[in-house]
């Protein structure tokens, strides 16, 4: 076994030595020295055949007929009939091909490698006496407090116990904007502290951290096989022994030993075995780099076939937070907003919170206003006195109850707001309506454009399912150009809609925020979770969009289609190569060495073809190329 290890470690030197010997052999032939020619090729054949035969033998011990076995038999055959140059060139090409394969394969895998290399390795654990000790992350325990300084990586998932700072969380959610965090806020392993100093109490360490889970997921995904790969694996287990049998038959029937060993070399299934997996590895790697986690080749395959996308509304198409969208001030009084906020600040009602938040961002100073005799009327609104003036904040019913009329303009404003699916709040001061505020759930930026791109990419139908009321749902769907809307649904109704679409022959993707939508996510052919790196989302869905962005969704679809196409291209190249070689053999232009050359070339062609996927990126109208390269630099 020592010998085997030695050979494995010196494979490159052996390949190089073989190349030199082949060169010397041809030089010998040129100067007419048959001895140099023959001896060089014999030595080259022997030393380069050793590693190949070793692999063939050890695979045989596990009852696998490998490509190496085919090559080994062919080489021994060529050697026996004195074709030393053929045997030397075939083994050299095989070794050199393997070398290039390793190098190019490493390129297709580098996305995961980059990811694992971003993992933190050490942590400064705070000791009882207040000093810190540098510890390997694997030995940090839950509950330990670690010190993170400016520019350092957070080594664990945990909670800030002291200090504050700005964190770059791109490695977790793809978001390049810095997040301000202070005592009590959660921080994640693998993120960078851009400025400040914090102490963090570990809640999760090592592989249990969100970052650890992402790495594990991507690693597993690259080994989860697509149906095409599974088919080829099965095919290869019969194909390789079949080649052996065919070569034997050819040798017996035609009584031609040379032809038989040529068949062995030509029949190697090289590009076929590597073509499909390499496309998936590159595709999944591309996704991981762009904030899209795709859990394996089978998911990639199904995702490429999706024709119906079902969206949850709140938290997916919309931000899931209410905000003021209209402020119609029909008085000349600038203080209306401050009055409203002063009254609303005591209330927990979501509409009231939205008004207060809006007032704060618009610089209204309402802290000094004195609110007295505040009275909440259920289903109507609030009555109060501010600086001695009567203030009414609520719906139209509240106004009617107090004999306050709306002017014609105010009525039409109110109708406009309600028609857009927003909730409305009317503010009256001293018996006169002063302003009307419209409040609604804000649609995420870029959603409309992304939906259009998805349609262009071949998605036939977009559907929105929501528990929200019909009017709001219609309004949101109208603004986004969604094809079908179903409102006022319970979670189980959503599942039934998904099932109905599937029954009528559609391949359905469900896009949700990962927690309350899990039944639908599980039922759909593809569950896509708006991630932001939560454990539940990462675990229950097939695809996770790390920064919950819609451009990531478009990217995921484009990538899946591109990857599946790439796999097909590679299979065509591989099958085409074998057909070409057989034809060449029949018309007598292909021999062992040239056959091996074509094989190795075809393997490199499929790898290079797959490598195109690493760079794949859908052009979104929002980003120009400069911004794109800037974000890429930050991620890598």
């Amino acid at each position: 076994m020592k010998f085997q290890k030695f050979i494995n470690q010196h494979l490159n030197q052996i390949t190089l030595a073989t190349a030199i010997l082949i060169g010397v052999g041809f030089a010998g032939k040129l100067i007419g020295s048959n001895i140099i020619y023959t001896v060089s090729f014999i030595v080259a054949s022997v030393i380069s055949a050793v590693p190949i035969m070793m692999r063939a033998f050890s695979a045989l011990r596990f009852r696998t007929i490998s490509i190496e076995l085919l090559v080994s038999i062919a080489v021994i055959g060529a050697f026996l009939i004195g074709e030393y140059n053929e045997s030397a060139i075939v083994t050299f090409l095989f070794l050199f091909g393997t070398f290039l394969e390793d190098k190019t394969l490493a390129k297709t895998r580098h996305a995961i490698k980059d990811l694992t290399e971003m993992a933190p390795t050490t942590a400064d654990v705070v000791q009882d006496d207040g000093s810190t000790e540098e510890t390997d992350v694997d030995f940090v325990d839950v509950g330990d407090v670690v010190l993170v300084k400016t520019g350092a990586q957070v080594p664990v998932d945990g909670e800030i116990v002291s200090g504050s700072g700005h964190l770059n969380e791109a490695s977790i959610n793809g978001e390049s904007k810095l997040a301000a965090k202070t005592t009590g806020d959660p921080v994640y392993a693998g993120t960078m502290l851009d400025n400040g100093t914090v102490q963090v109490r570990a809640t999760k360490v090592g592989d249990d951290t969100t970052f650890g889970k992402i790495v594990e997921l991507v690693e597993d995904a690259q080994d989860t096989k697509s149906p095409a790969e599974k088919f080829i694996d099965k095919f290869a287990t019969y194909y390789t022994p079949a080649v052996l049998v065919i070569a034997l038959l050819v040798g017996l029937i035609f009584q031609d030993f040379r032809l038989a060993i040529t068949v062995l070399v030509l029949g190697c299934p090289g590009a076929l075995v590597i073509g499909a997996p390499v496309s998936n590895v590159a595709g999944i790697g591309n996704g991981a780099k762009n904030g899209v986690l795709i859990k394996g080749g089978d998911v990639m395959n199904t995702l490429s076939k999706v024709d119906t996308i079902v969206f949850d509304k709140t938290g997916t198409l919309t931000e899931g937070k209410t905000a003021v969208t209209h402020f119609k001030n029909s008085s000349d009084n600038d203080g209306v907003l401050a009055y409203a906020a002063a009254v609303e600040k005591e209330s927990d009602h979501p509409l009231a919170k939205a008004v207060v938040a809006y007032a704060k961002t618009h610089g209204s100073d309402f802290d000094q206003l004195e609110v007295t005799a505040s009275d909440t009327i259920k289903g109507r609104g609030i009555l109060a006195q501010v600086n001695g003036q009567d203030v009414l904040i609520g719906n139209r019913q509240l106004m009617t109850d107090h004999q306050i009329e709306l002017t014609a303009t105010q009525s039409s404003d109110l109708q406009e707001i309600q028609h857009q699916g927003s909730s409305s709040v009317i503010i009256a001061i001293a018996g006169k309506v002063q302003a009307i505020i419209g409040i609604s759930d804000v649609i995420r930026p870029g959603v409309k454009e992304s939906l259009q791109l998805l349609k262009k990419a071949g998605v036939k139908k977009t559907v929105m399912l929501t528990g929200d009321n019909q009017l709001t749902a219609q309004s949101v769907a109208g603004q986004l150009g969604i094809d079908e809307v179903h409102a006022e649904l319970m979670p189980e109704d959503k599942v039934n809609f998904v099932k109905d679409f599937q029954k009528s022959g559609h391949t359905v993707a469900f896009v949700g925020d990962g927690i309350n939508d899990s039944p639908s996510l599980a039922t759909a052919n593809i569950g896509i979770a708006m991630g932001s790196g939560t454990d539940v989302a990462v675990e229950t869905s097939d695809v996770v969009l790390m920064s919950s962005g819609f451009d990531e969704l478009v990217h995921a679809f484009g990538l899946a289609r591109k990857t599946v196409l790439n796999t097909k291209e590679n299979i065509v190249i591989a099958v085409g190569t074998v057909a070409f070689l057989l034809l060449g053999l029949l018309v007598g232009v292909i021999y062992m060495a040239s056959g091996m050359f074509v094989h190795e070339a075809s393997i490199l062609v499929v790898i290079f073809n797959a490598m195109r996927l690493i760079k794949f990126r859908i052009k979104t109208p929002k980003l120009d190329s400069d911004q794109l390269s800037a974000t890429e630099v930050k991620l890598s």
Partner: protein, 74 residues
């Protein structure tokens, strides 16, 4: 049941996977073995009373593959 993760030098041939898988599964006390080809990792669950992670690591390196690191969780 203990869990070990062995990080290997890059794997290039799919048959290496079968070799490592087969050899580890034959060890007494080894429950599950998963070889991640692209990540060049071996994940295994084993009974620490019957076999140690170091022994498993030796099995892999005896097959001719370099083991870069071993992580054990009990």
């Amino acid at each position: 049941m203990s869990k070990a993760i062995l990080q290997l030098d890059a794997l290039s041939c799919p048959s290496c996977m079968q070799k490592i898988q087969g050899a580890l599964e034959k060890q007494a006390g080894v429950d599950t073995v998963k070889v991640l080809f692209n990540a060049a990792k071996v994940k295994t669950e084993f009974d620490a009373d019957q076999v140690s992670a170091d022994q498993l690591s030796n099995v892999v390196s005896d097959l001719g593959y370099e083991v870069k690191s071993v992580k054990v969780k009990s």
